[in-house]
């Protein structure tokens, strides 16, 4: 359970946003939307405990996040970066094993349980066959799945994903979103940021819209992501087109442009 109360976030020299209040219940998926520079990444970093809150409170399981040691924090909330740039050609298994760092002693090496958790995470995402490949030689979509596998191996109760599909081609985007849906179905608690309203409509339960660092709307995706709210968020007229099932396509409204 992640609880955010009246949070102000940013850097000591520059406040990026404030008045953010929401709770993320177990098993829930929240999408975070906002224009470029609205403060999405800074907010996520604050939620992860990587930046101290300027005011207000971020708590996980009832305790302020600052009170946890880094290792304790890592067993509660995991992070999937927007675009992982590997410095070295670690094998996929070695990269996923790093998710176990919070559970491995300072002077210890990964043990049997850690290897099992890594293999299981890869199997869950259907990329077990990549285990021995270097992370520098797999596709961007596969690398994103490896980063998600690392977060799964971390066995944290909440996974935070920063624009998980931002740098992916269409096919890889679909593949990553399909795996995210599977994790949702398994009851994982997810928080992801995205630039695509229709992605949030389909793949999240609730949406938080951030405009200039302040919440514009926080509600079930159907209500939060109304055409009107999306227009206010991005400053351009849009039309929500209903597709089959409960899917929507969010397209620019050229008639009103």
């Amino acid at each position: 359970m992640l609880v955010v109360e009246n949070l102000a976030f940013g850097f000591p020299s520059r406040r990026v946003g404030d008045h953010v209040t929401f709770a993320l219940a177990p098993g829930e998926t929240l999408a975070l939307l906002g224009a470029n520079g609205a403060g999405k990444t800074t907010l996520l970093r604050t939620l992860l405990g990587l930046l101290p809150p300027l005011a207000g409170r971020v708590a996980i399981d009832g305790a302020p996040i600052a009170r946890f040691t880094p290792a304790e924090r890592a067993t509660r909330i995991a992070y999937v970066p927007q675009h992982h740039v590997p410095a070295y050609a670690f094998s996929v298994t070695d990269a996923v094993l790093m998710g176990r760092a919070g559970r491995i002693g300072t002077f210890a090496r990964p043990g049997r349980a850690d290897h099992a958790a890594a293999a299981e995470a890869l199997a869950t995402l259907g990329i077990g066959s990549l285990a021995r490949r270097p992370v520098t030689e797999i596709s961007g979509g596969e690398r994103q799945l490896v980063m998600i596998a690392r977060a799964l191996a971390q066995q944290a109760s909440i996974i935070v994903l920063d624009e998980p599909t931002a740098s992916l081609d269409f096919g890889n985007r679909v593949r990553v979103l399909r795996e995210l849906d599977r994790l949702r179905a398994r009851g994982m608690t997810l928080l992801f940021s995205t630039h695509e309203p229709d992605q949030a409509l389909v793949h999240a339960d609730r949406a938080l819209l951030l405009a200039d660092g302040r919440p514009l709307a926080l509600d079930a995706v159907g209500r939060a992501l109304s055409a009107e709210n999306i227009e206010r968020l991005y400053g351009t007229p849009v039309r929500l087109v209903a597709l089959d099932g409960n899917r929507y396509a969010c397209v620019p409204d050229e008639r009103r442009a």
């Binding site: 995991a78 992982h84 760092a101 099992a116």
Partner: protein, 345 residues
């Protein structure tokens, strides 16, 4: 997930690393025996082994071979092994730390700081041990200054700030060394300073070994103990912290250990470049970047590389060639080849 599947997942990389490591150790021992037999007074491998074995079993005869092997060549071989292992291990650690395979132990100003310390010692006419202590202190002070300044300046890009500060401090220290060379007595001090700066293992003695071995031992022990965790330093800062490590403290520990290894080596042998840059790269090409597999191999490779270089340095010509010149001659083409290879892949 059954235990057998897990074993299959983890076996190949570890087993391959194991064989490579054993092979490298055997080559290192053979190389050491050859090095002990090489020189003005050549000995066969059998003679070297016999002389070593006689001392070990307490049957030592006061022969010329015994004196040459035990008193002259063995200390020098041991110093070469330690200097090579230390520089390679430090380079491997710095390369992980800076997420950049092209950095070297010099990046933090350690080598320049140690060199300035030693030059100051020579300039003041200090004794042998005092010069070594000054070099050691200079290395530690230089990296301390770099880290302090970088910590004050850095906000968003701590690593870039650290590297830039290191370069700036190193160039300042280089200027200070030039000043001392300019002021030095051109008949006694200037040659001593110049030769020391070129790097040499010719003065290696049991006394030097006594200073070098504990320092390198402690530094390597720290790096080995933290080896798996050091992998996470190769990740972007945010990712490492989100994975649950105190990256600031870990980075400090690694910098301290790598700096100790580097400055102890520089104090004994002067500046011998390229080892800390090229050797980690070679080891990484063979066993990959995973640090707990990489570090032992890089250390053994470094020891073998330095020993081979030093043995060539003292046997190729009738006078000794400074090993720093040989490492540069060997290192530059190897480095260019590595660069070309990494560009292709």
């Amino acid at each position: 997930m059954s235990a057998t599947t897990v074993a299959r997942v983890r076996a190949p990389a570890s087993r391959r690393t194991g064989w490579v490591f054993v092979g490298a150790c055997c080559a290192l021992i053979a190389l050491a025996l050859i090095a002990l037999g090489s020189g003005r007074y050549p000995l066969s491998i059998a003679e070297v082994a016999a002389v070593l074995w006689d001392r070990v079993t307490g049957h030592a005869a006061a022969s010329t071979s015994d004196a040459i092997v035990w008193q002259i060549r063995l200390p020098r071989v041991c110093v070469a092994l330690l200097v090579g292992a230390a520089l390679a291990a430090a380079g491997t650690a710095y390369q992980h730390l800076f997420r950049n395979p092209l950095v070297a132990p010099d990046t933090l100003g350690v080598s320049s700081g140690a060199a300035l310390g030693a030059v100051l010692g020579i300039f003041l006419g200090a004794g042998f041990l005092a010069i070594e202590a000054a070099a050691f202190l200079g290395g530690l002070l230089a990296v301390g200054a770099v880290m302090l300044i970088a910590a004050r300046l850095s906000a968003h890009e701590p690593l870039v700030t650290l590297i830039l500060t290191g370069i700036v401090i190193a160039s300042l220290l280089g200027a200070a060394i030039s000043m001392f060379k300019y002021l030095a007595d051109p008949y006694n001090q200037l040659p001593a300073i110049t030769f020391w700066l070129m790097g040499s293992l010719a003065a290696s003695s049991a006394q030097e070994l006594g200073v070098l071995a504990p320092a390198v031992g402690v530094a390597l022990a720290v790096l080995f103990a933290l080896a798996w965790r050091i992998n996470l330093l190769a990740l972007p800062e945010d990712e490492a912290r989100a994975l649950g490590i105190d990256s600031g403290r870990l980075r400090l520990a690694v910098i301290a250990a790598a700096t100790l290894a580097t400055s102890a080596s520089v104090a004994v042998s002067g500046i011998i470049g390229w080892v800390g840059l090229v050797v980690p790269h070679m080891a990484r090409l063979i066993v990959g970047p995973e640090f707990s597999r990489l570090l032992p191999l890089a250390a053994v490779f470094g020891a073998a590389f330095m020993l081979a270089i030093d043995t060539l340095a003292r046997t190729l010509a009738s006078i000794e060639i400074p090993p720093g010149i040989l490492t540069a001659v060997v290192g530059t083409p190897v480095f260019i080849a590595l660069l070309a290879r990494s560009r292709r892949s």
